[in-house]
């Protein structure tokens, strides 16, 4: 049904997890073999040239991040895999780990070698016990087969991986908060700079990447940068991406699709169209922190740069669709409640600002809103943006700003009618 090339999901079968023998048979650990025959610098350069961008939400070019890493500095250096995945609408890393977890381990072994950071942590959220168990089993298999542990594949290089099970809170996904979490401190974020590459876990150079980013690396090593580049439909881009569909769709499932596929194709072909034959109204293109796209954006390419051009973001590519009968004030209210509850409370713009926005959206949604509330809402956004200690509050402003930009009429309608027009 999905005719596009499958890379991360090529072995995926419902309800099953690929074990080592099958992974090897499908070409598994060939990327690591190749990497170990290259110099660490050559591996970094290949990843940089491949055009791979981070799959954790920000889309930062992976090879460039790796090139900042002080790999030749003596002493402890760490590699961390971010498997917090708590942004509403995002469930792709779980699908990847349930289906074929060795890809992550192979990617981490390659990254550890490229960065000369032999100790790695896989950080997994509380709700992902099913993933933790499968990853731990895969680590055992990989150690027994010589892909992890001492002197991997006879290269003289050691790779030691630990699984860390977390205990809730979205903020742990923010990389410096995650590092505090791993250290066993109170996981408020840290100020940047210094960046983790300079001073990260236990004060040592640390590289943090998302599950999907690391799992993509072995395929780049095995098949090369040209192959990777050609996977994308957008000639400016590279690779495939996991899209987790949700909301008012007939088939809210997770698909591996080329970067550059249009939103229309995602919704109609893969999502099976909007439920109940209704019209598409809007979507979150990549998780709860990404500004809405509306019907006018259906023919856009789902990719990092094209979405930034319309003031949105690809984020994690968790696409949540809303049908024509959805109240966007109510949607934004739900999203903002999430961010307000998950605020770590460290800085005032976020702790107090998000609570104020919740209060304003409550007033508007329940028919008590006034024009002054709308003005105050805009004021709050202006005062939170660029002033928060970490990117959580910045992300929280994504949907609120998009509500003001695309659906201001809907807000005004609530104010004028003194009730939610969708609940009449």
């Amino acid at each position: 049904m999905n005719a596009y090339p499958q890379v991360l999901f090529k072995n995926r079968r419902p309800g099953e997890t690929v074990l080592l023998p099958e992974y090897e048979k499908s070409g598994g650990y060939q990327g690591l073999r190749k990497a170990l025959k290259m110099s660490p610098g050559e591996v970094c350069a290949l990843v940089k040239d491949s055009g791979l961008r981070g799959r954790g939400g920000a889309g930062f070019p992976t090879g460039i991040k790796w090139s900042f890493f002080p790999s030749s500095q003596p002493g402890d250096k760490y590699l961390v895999c971010n498997g917090d995945e708590m942004e509403p609408g995002t469930y792709k890393d779980r699908q990847l780990l349930l289906a074929d977890p060795h890809q992550l381990l192979e990617g981490m072994a390659i990254a550890a070698y490229a960065l000369q950071a032999p100790v790695g942590y896989i950080f997994l959220r509380y709700a992902y016990e099913d993933c933790s168990l499968r990853v731990e089993r895969a680590v055992k298999e990989a150690i027994a087969a010589g892909y992890l542990g001492k002197n991997i594949l006879g290269s003289g290089f050691d790779v030691e991986l630990h699984v860390h099970r977390s205990a809730g809170r979205y903020i742990l996904g923010e990389e410096t908060s995650l590092l505090n979490g791993l250290e066993g401190g109170r996981p408020n974020p840290r100020s940047k700079p210094p960046f983790p590459a300079q001073r990260g876990l236990f004060g040592r150079p640390t590289n943090v990447n998302n599950v999907e980013t690391l799992a993509t690396v072995p395929h780049i090593l095995a098949h090369g940068k040209v192959w990777f580049h050609n996977l994308a439909l957008n000639p400016e881009s590279a690779g495939t991406k996991l899209f987790g569909l949700s909301g008012h769709l007939n088939k809210p499932e997770c698909f591996e699709l080329p970067l550059g596929v249009t939103l229309r194709e995602v919704v109609d072909e893969f999502g099976g169209g909007v439920r109940g034959g209704k019209k598409f109204k809007a979507c979150l293109p990549g998780g709860a922190s990404t500004p809405y796209l509306a019907a006018e954006h259906l023919d856009l390419m789902m990719d990092f740069d094209p979405l930034e051009e319309v003031d949105s973001r690809l984020g994690t590519a968790g696409v949540t669709v809303f049908d024509e009968d959805t109240c966007m004030v109510a949607v934004t209210r739900n999203l903002n409640q999430f961010f307000a509850r998950e605020s770590c409370g460290w800085c005032t713009p976020c702790r107090d600002g998000l609570a104020t926005i919740s209060w304003l959206l409550d007033r508007i949604e329940f028919g008590r809103g006034t024009e002054d509330d709308l003005t105050m809402l805009k004021d709050q956004v202006r005062n939170i943006k660029g002033r928060s200690f970490c990117a959580l509050a910045e992300g929280a402003m994504g949907p609120v700003e998009a509500l003001l930009r695309l659906f201001e009429d809907e807000i005004k309608d609530h104010i004028r009618k003194g009730c939610c027009p969708f609940k009449q």
Binding site: P88, A127, E129, G184, H248, T326, N334
Partner: protein, 150 residues
């Protein structure tokens, strides 16, 4: 002496002695024993359902860290329970994808059939009902987690 015996008994209710010993042994050989705080709190919780004050003290003592260092970690995480909960905690997702597919109705239904509100425990001490943010099961919305199973 008598107090010491009682204390020991209380502690083994929190976590079996072998597990305490194994955490102690691990903490002794690693450079940063703090990194075991979350693991140990979770171990206590899986044995005792929740983490009472003695659980914080046991964690501090076992790892050789300060009780306040344990407490500031324990109180940060929403999945570490510092108050008594039922034997089965039901977490209902109230984030956007589940909300859009009728999570509010599911929550209503659960509250009615269990006879409790969100945040409460049934009188027989079996179920606690809590809201949670996205569980990473958005494609199968509406989602909930019972214990550690989604």
């Amino acid at each position: 002496m008598a107090r010491g015996v009682k204390k020991l008994k209380v502690m083994t209710e929190l976590l079996p002695q072998e597990q305490v010993d194994s955490f102690k042994a691990k903490a002794a050989v690693i450079a940063h024993p703090h990194e075991l705080i979350v693991d140990l709190l979770r171990a206590i919780q899986s044995h005792h359902d929740w983490v009472p004050d003695d659980g914080v003290l046991l964690t501090a003592e076992t790892l050789g860290v300060l009780p306040i260092e344990v407490e500031e970690v324990a109180t940060f995480y929403d999945k570490i329970f510092r108050r008594a909960v039922g034997r089965r905690v039901i977490h209902v997702c109230d984030s956007i994808c589940c909300w859009s597919i009728g999570a509010e109705m599911i929550t209503e239904h659960l509250q009615k059939s269990l006879g409790i509100k969100l945040g409460e425990t049934t009188a027989d001490g079996v179920f606690t009902l809590l809201p949670t943010c996205c569980l990473g099961a958005c494609g199968e919305a509406p989602a909930m987690m019972i214990g550690l199973t989604i």
